[in-house]
Subunit: 222 residues, 2 copies
């Protein structure tokens, strides 16, 4: 991140497994707002202010929290109208690191086309911030970046070879993304937590048309 000047850019934050997939799913089911919070304690304190508190550390739900990091916790009528405070290992940190951006939007395979359209209609340069895993590269976020670059390739040019590399990887993976991801470090890590259904859910393309945007520190869709 320190290599990029984000001030003139629309930053697309992506944490496919599973923070940004959860966020997109939640908004598609009528959640009112999601406030990303970096620390566990700060998030816990939001409970007294009328927020549903959601949190994950190292892939596991946080004790005492209302919700964890599975997209299936953010579907159905019961989430409609909720204000959620959300803290995760990588996703909320990526949002925090992007805070000086001109605009921050939330990306996932679930709302890929909505993100692409937004970037095409806007005038800003774009930076895709892959949350990764504890500061390291992961495959699933890179594949999302590749899918997005693939959609935009006739309109936007790359600033280095990273978008190109991501697009090659996406084209290699796209026919069977789940098998491809089965070799990745993060999926191997999450396999231990039995979340195959979550992974399947998170790599489905264009399930929802919402585009969460950060406004005054809180994600909203309107």
């Amino acid at each position: 991140m320190h290599l990029y000047d984000v001030r003139d850019k629309t930053v697309v934050v992506v944490d496919i497994l599973r923070a940004t997939s959860c966020m997109v799913t939640a908004f598609a089911h009528g959640v009112e707002s999601i406030t990303p919070i970096a620390s566990l304690e700060e998030c816990r304190n939001m409970k007294t202010r009328g927020y549903v508190i959601s949190g994950e550390r190292d892939g596991k739900k946080v004790e005492g929290f209302d919700k964890g990091n599975s997209p299936f916790e953010y579907v159905g009528d019961q989430v409609r109208g909720l204000k959620i405070a959300f803290t995760t290992t990588n996703g909320t940190l990526a949002i925090e690191k992007s805070k000086d951006a001109k605009e921050i939007v939330i990306g996932s395979f679930l709302n890929l086309t909505s993100v692409a359209k937004h970037l095409l209609l806007g005038e800003n340069n774009a930076l895709i911030v892959c949350a990764g895993w504890k500061g390291r590269v992961n495959l699933e976020d890179t594949l999302f970046a590749g899918a997005l670059v693939d959609k935009l390739k006739d309109y936007l040019g790359p600033d280095c070879d990273a978008p190109l590399a991501a697009r090659y990887l996406y084209n290699l993976a796209k026919e069977d993304m789940i098998s491809f991801l089965n070799t990745s470090s993060h999926v191997l890590r999450l396999n231990k937590l039995n979340i195959h259904e979550d992974i399947k859910f998170c790599v489905a393309m264009d399930q929802f048309k919402v585009l969460p945007k950060l406004k005054n520190g809180t994600l909203v869709v309107n």
Copy 2:
């Protein structure tokens, strides 16, 4: 780099186009030592101390320097025994950033198998530092990383998905690396400087068996 603790690691520094390819070529032709220097001025001063001064900025040879950054300047009998002071846009900076490593070696396609053998025979963890272009990702260094990971895959495990991604890219590119690289930002940049022959030279595998190592701030092979 700031995400990795290099103190317990053998760092392989790579700048395929063209710093580390030049270094490997130079040692294969009998150069005695190469001292990487970060700044242009400092490098210029080495001239008075009996060094041949080599330098490149933005892909171009530096005015007043003895040699530039083309591997063809480092072949033949006339380089035997030379002590070279070398400064480049990205390669020498990558060495500087790796300075706390347990060991630093120089990698290129030209000495790929020598690097792989060294890592297999050693006991250190390994980090491949792709010099990139001004701090950004480039394809050619990533492909080298992928080729090295491919050789080591049965012996060393990855710490994140970056080695895996690099290996996928290498396997996609290996049948025709030159065509693959023709789409990369750096090759497009260098094309303007008419260095097609350099690129062809730099992607040839295992031409030399030398393994330059940093000792007291200077690269040597013995």
